[in-house]
């Protein structure tokens, strides 16, 4: 069954798995470039940029593939520094969503550690994530990547809300409100918005899309029922870690845009724009 799903044209021409992978990647790259050429004809994209992006994607994923080959042979605990590195990278990327907020990197780092770090730790301790490299690394990275997106969405929406309601916010401060009280409606709006993708993913699971991990498990020979259940487990963990991240952000961020005198620290940055 799995064999019949593979391209019969390529299957006929190449026999080893690696050669088939190269042939499949090269074929898709040619189609990507052809599509890019058509898009470029209509002024929608630059063929040069897409060529660079395709080359970069192939090189990046090959490097990751080679790293995974090495990592899969190491003991499970080597996943800890790798996942920790991913958390730092995710915090750096998410922090760029709100450079005007003081100490954004520290905040995103705490949020992602609280969300992704705690979830990975607890789920591994409970045995929901197997203590093996082949499970810890891909599932852990999925959780971290999603919490990064949720932290970035929270930051982006929160700063946007503050920018568009600065009059209401400062009216509340001028009446004697504490900063976090004044910012509460905007923090709530950011919290709701940041969890929309994770909630929608749970809601549409199996109806709108069959996610990658399930497809991968089915392709590698797991029972489709177990693959389906585990996909729910993964999306559930993403929702849990995302919610913790967003709750942590809503506790830390509103407080952080004010000083001890409840003066809005990002006002000058907002005014300059």
């Amino acid at each position: 069954m799995v064999r019949s799903m593979r391209s019969w044209v390529l299957n006929y021409l190449v026999h080893s798995e690696l050669a088939r992978g190269i042939a499949q990647a090269a074929t898709v790259a040619v189609f990507v470039l052809l599509t890019a050429w058509f898009a470029a004809q209509r002024g929608a994209a630059s063929i040069g940029e897409i060529f660079v992006a395709v080359t970069r994607a192939i090189v990046q994923i090959l490097v990751v593939g080679l790293l995974l080959v090495i990592l899969m042979k190491t003991p499970w605990w080597t996943a800890i520094p790798v996942l920790a590195g991913m958390i730092v990278a995710a915090a750096t990327i998410a922090a760029k969503r709100a450079p005007e907020v003081p100490r954004t990197f520290q905040i995103t780092l705490i949020c992602i550690c609280a969300g992704a770090g705690t979830t990975i730790l607890v789920m591994t301790a409970l045995g929901i994530i197997d203590k093996q490299m082949r499970m810890l690394l891909p599932v852990g990275s999925m959780i971290i990547a999603n919490t990064m997106n949720i932290a970035a969405l929270y930051l982006n929406r929160f700063v946007g809300e503050i920018r568009s309601h600065i009059g209401e916010l400062e009216s509340a401060i001028a009446l004697g409100a504490a900063g976090d009280t004044a910012a509460l409606p905007y923090s709530r709006a950011a919290f709701r918005a940041s969890l929309i993708p994770a909630t929608d993913n749970l809601r549409s699971l199996g109806i709108v899309w069959i996610p990658g991990i399930m497809a991968g498990m089915v392709l590698s020979g797991s029972s489709p029922l177990y693959a389906a259940l585990y996909q729910f487990v993964v999306l559930g963990m993403i929702f849990i870690s995302g919610s913790i991240t967003s709750i942590t952000a809503s506790q830390l961020l509103p407080r952080n845009i004010f000083n001890a005198r409840e003066q809005l620290l990002i006002r000058d940055a907002v005014e300059e724009q």
């Binding site: 009059g167 400062e170 001028a174 009446l175 004697g176 409100a177 003066q263 000058d268």
Partner: protein
Amino acid sequence: MLACCSVSRTIQRNGHPALKLLENISFFVEQGATLAVLGASGAGKSTLLRLLNRLDEPSGGQIMLAGKNTAEIDARQLRRKVGMVMQRAYLFPGRVADNIRFGPAQFAQAMTDAEIACLLEQVGLAGYEQREAHTLSGGEAQRVALARALANRPQVLLLDEPTSALDEEAKQGVEQLLLSVVQQDRLTCVWVTHDRAQARRVGQRALLLSEGRVIADGSLDEVLGA
């Protein structure tokens, strides 16, 4: 009552030279008096009010309230004593009564329905308690903003061009209301306006700003000309 002594405000900007918004501002307002602050756009009038309410911190100098340096007063307590009405009302979503309750609620104080009704009557909006804030006209919203500031029982009232966003009819009504409230409650008032005629109607003294500096400070005739 309220005094500024050599107050300045400078903001640091990434990749740009520091920007001086106010420089060496000094003035005094007696208890129960109104100081009209005039100046063109960008002169620093609103920046000055923000420092008096401590929405921003002065870079230098001192602001004194009833003989005490405001830097030594807790910022939230100071804001309670120094109320502010902005150019736009910026009412919070919800009912008029919720808006009025907001200030005292920040200090764990509940207002009675009778107190709210009394304040609304004072600003000419008797019976508006249950009206949704977003349904009010500009003039009505500004009256609610005034009632909201008065709910904190301030000693000083800062008015940042409170009638400039209103139509002519609402403008006269709100100006009359503000004058009567200031006189009735014997509030010390700093009234920012760009309208010289309004400054003459509302102030006992005037302060003229230009590019963040005091150009003239004195009686209305001295500053605005006889």
